[in-house]
Amino acid sequence: MNKLKFLSFGLSRPPAKARRPARRYPWLLIRSAGIRFALVYAVVFGLSAFLLAISLWYSTLGLLQRQVESAVRTDIAALLEHETIGGLPSVISAIRGRLADAGGSDGIYLLADPSGNRIAGNLDRWPVGLNNDEVWYQLPVSRNGESSIALLRAENLPDGVRLLVGRDVRARAQLSMVLQKGLIWAACLMVVLGVLGALLIRSLFRRMIGNIATTTRAIARGDLARRVPLTGLGDEFDELAVIINDMLERISRLMDGVRQVSNAIAHDLRTPITRARTRLEDAARYAREPAEMEQAIERAMLDLDGIVAVFEALLRIAEIEAGSRRAAFAVIDLAPLLRDMDELYSAVAEERGLCLQTVIQAPLPVLGDRELVQQAVANLLDNALKFSPPSTVILLTARLEESVVEISVADRGSGIAEQDRDRAMERFFRGEAARNTSGSGLGLALVVAVAQLHNGTLQLMDNHPGLRAVLCIPARG
C-alpha cells in the first residue's frame, strides 16, 4: 500500500489521478520502480551465480575426465609397444606386472582371445555393450566380483586378440554427486540472498525516493523551507539531492525576490506617488496663481520621473536576473571600457573636489555584455562619488588574477556597517548614511545581478575607512 502511495507522488494532483488509465492488476507490481530494480538485481545476481556454478562444474569434472583419458591412452601406447617388441607374452607379463604393482588401485585391464575369454587382466569378462575399438566407453563393470563404473577403451591386437584398458571412475562419480548437492544448496542460498538483496535495494531506493518525495510534496504544499536530507555517503542519490536542493534554493531566492519587490513597490513607490498626488491635489485646491500651479506641476513631474527611474531599474534587474541577456554574450576586453569610464567620471570627481585614481591592467578579456558591465561599474562609481567626503581619493583598479578579472572601487566615505553589508546588496536597502541622499537603493542590487549573470561575485569590504566594492568576473581567453 505504502509503495503504491509513493508511486503516485508525481501524479498527486486530483485531475491527473482521474485521467490516469486503469491498469491490469498484475502489472501494478512492475509499475513500482523499486520492485523493478529489485527484480533486475535478483535476475542479474542469479544469472551470474548460475554461470559461476556451471563453469566450476565443468572445470572440475572435465579436468578429472581428461586426466583419466590421458592416463589410459599412455597405458595403451605402452602395452602396444610391449606387443610389438615381445609379442603377446610380453603384453601378458606387463599386465600382470601392473596389476601386481598397483595392488587394489583403479587400473582395469583385460586381454581377451577372439571368443572373448580372458587371457589376462582383472575383469571377469568382456563388458556388455563394448563393441567398437578405439572409442571411449563409460560402463558398469564387475572386477573381482565387485561392481563398479569404469572409463574404458579397447584396442585390437594381432590374431583377433583384444586389449581393454580402463580406470575405475567410481570416485569421480561420487565427486560429481557431492558437487551436485553442493550446487543445489548454493542455488537455494543464492535465491535467498537474491531475494534479500532485492529487498534491501528496494528499501534503499524507497527511502531515497521517499525523502525526495516527502520534501517536494511539502514544497508543493507551500513549505518552501524544506530540503532533501543528505545521507552523507556522497553517492548518486546524494548528488541528486544536492541538485534538487540547489534548485529549491534558487526557487526560494526568486520567491524572496518577488516578495521583496512587491513589498518594496508597496512602500518605496507608494511614497513618491503619494507625494506627487498630494502636490497636485494641493495645487488644484489652493493654488492662487498660475506660477504656483506651474511649480507644483513641475515638482510632481520630477517625482514621477523618479518613480519611473525606480521602475526601470527594477525591470532592468528582473531582466538581468532572468538571464536572457546571456544569449548576447561576447568576448570583450574590459580595459578600454574601464578607461572610458575613468575618463567620463574623473571630470566629475574633479568637479566635486575629489580625485579618481585608476590602475587598469590590460587586457582584461571576459565573456559578457559590455553595456551591463558598464552600468555595473557606473553604479559603483556613482556610489563612491555620492558618499565620498570632499578632497578624498576614489580608487578604481582592475586586474587579471588567477583567471578572474577583479574590478575594485574603493572610497573613503562612511562605508557600510559590517552587519549591513549583505543586505546592502538587496533591492531597496538604504544604509544609515544613505538615508538622506537621493537614490533608489537599487544600485548595488543591479551590480549583484550583473555579477551573477556573468557567473561572478560582488563583495563589499571595509576600506578603513570607507567601502571597497569588488566585482569579480571569470576571465576568458
Binding site: 567620471y345 571630470a347 566629475v348 552600468q375 557606473a378 562609481l381 562619488l385 555620492k386
Partner: protein
C-alpha cells in the same frame, strides 16, 4: 517638417501632435496600424513616430518591415512601452532609426525626431563643420574659433563634433550619452553636464558670443545666433 504619428493612445497622441505642431511641424495622425501604413506608404513624410503595439492587425514592427520592404527610407522613431534591451534591438533591426521608451519627456522626443530628420538630409562625408566662427576640421582633427586654435581632448572633440552636427537643434543628455559615449543607460551622476561645461570653458569662455546654450528641462544646443 511633415511628421506622421502612429499612436493608438488618444492622450499620448494628442499631446505629441500638439507639441510637434507648436514646434512648427506639420503633423498627420493615425490611430491604428492599417491607416498608419496606408498614410506612410502613400504620402511623403520627413519622419514617422511609431508605436510598437497597435490595434488593427498590423503592429509597429510589421508596419515598418512592410515600409522598408517597399524601399521607403523615411526615418522612423519607435515610441514604445516595451523597454527591454531585446525589444529595442528588435525595433532597430526591423529598420527603426531610434527607440524611445514610454514614459518620455516631450523635449526628448522632439530633440530625437529633429535629430533624425537632420541625419536623413546631409549624409555626405563632410570634412569641415562650421557654426558661427567655430570651425572644425575633421581630417586634421583641429578646432579653431576665429583666429584662435582650441585644444581638445579626443572625447571633447567627439562631443563637440556631435553638437556641431546637430547645430541649431536641442541635444539631450541621453542623446549625448548614446552618441558620444555609447552608454545606453542613465548614470545617477551628472556626468554629461560636467563634460559639457568643460567644453564650454574651452570654446566659449574667452569669447564674447556664447555658442553652447543650455536649454532648460531639455539639454543643450549649439547655435551662432542669440537665443
Amino acid at each position: 517638417m511633415r511628421i506622421l504619428v502612429v499612436e493608438d493612445d488618444k492622450d499620448v497622441a494628442s499631446f505629441v501632435v500638439k507639441g510637434l505642431r507648436e514646434a512648427g511641424h506639420t503633423v498627420e495622425h493615425a490611430d491604428n496600424g492599417r491607416d498608419g501604413l496606408f498614410l506612410a506608404a502613400s504620402e511623403n513624410f520627413d519622419a514617422i513616430i511609431l508605436d510598437r503595439m497597435l490595434p488593427g492587425g498590423i503592429d509597429g514592427l510589421r508596419l515598418l518591415e512592410t515600409l522598408r520592404g517597399q524601399d521607403n527610407a523615411t526615418p522612423v522613431l519607435f515610441l514604445s512601452a516595451l523597454g527591454q534591451v531585446d525589444d529595442r534591438v528588435k525595433g532597430l533591426k526591423a529598420g527603426g532609426d531610434d527607440y524611445l521608451t514610454k514614459p518620455f519627456a516631450f523635449a526628448e522626443l522632439l530633440a530625437r525626431v529633429e535629430a533624425l530628420t537632420r541625419r536623413g538630409k546631409n549624409d555626405g562625408p563632410a570634412t569641415r563643420l562650421l557654426v558661427g566662427d567655430l570651425e572644425m576640421d575633421l581630417l586634421s582633427r583641429t578646432v579653431r574659433r576665429g583666429q584662435h586654435k582650441i585644444d581638445l581632448q579626443p572625447r571633447e572633440f567627439r562631443l563637440l563634433e556631435y553638437l556641431m552636427r546637430h547645430a541649431g537643434q536641442v541635444v539631450t543628455r541621453t542623446m549625448l550619452l548614446e552618441g558620444v559615449w555609447d552608454y545606453h543607460f542613465d548614470p545617477q551622476t551628472n556626468v554629461i553636464d560636467v563634460h559639457v561645461s568643460r567644453l564650454r570653458q574651452k570654446i566659449d569662455k574667452p569669447f564674447e558670443l556664447p555658442l553652447l546654450h543650455t536649454v532648460r528641462n531639455a539639454g543643450y544646443m549649439l547655435r551662432a545666433e542669440e537665443v
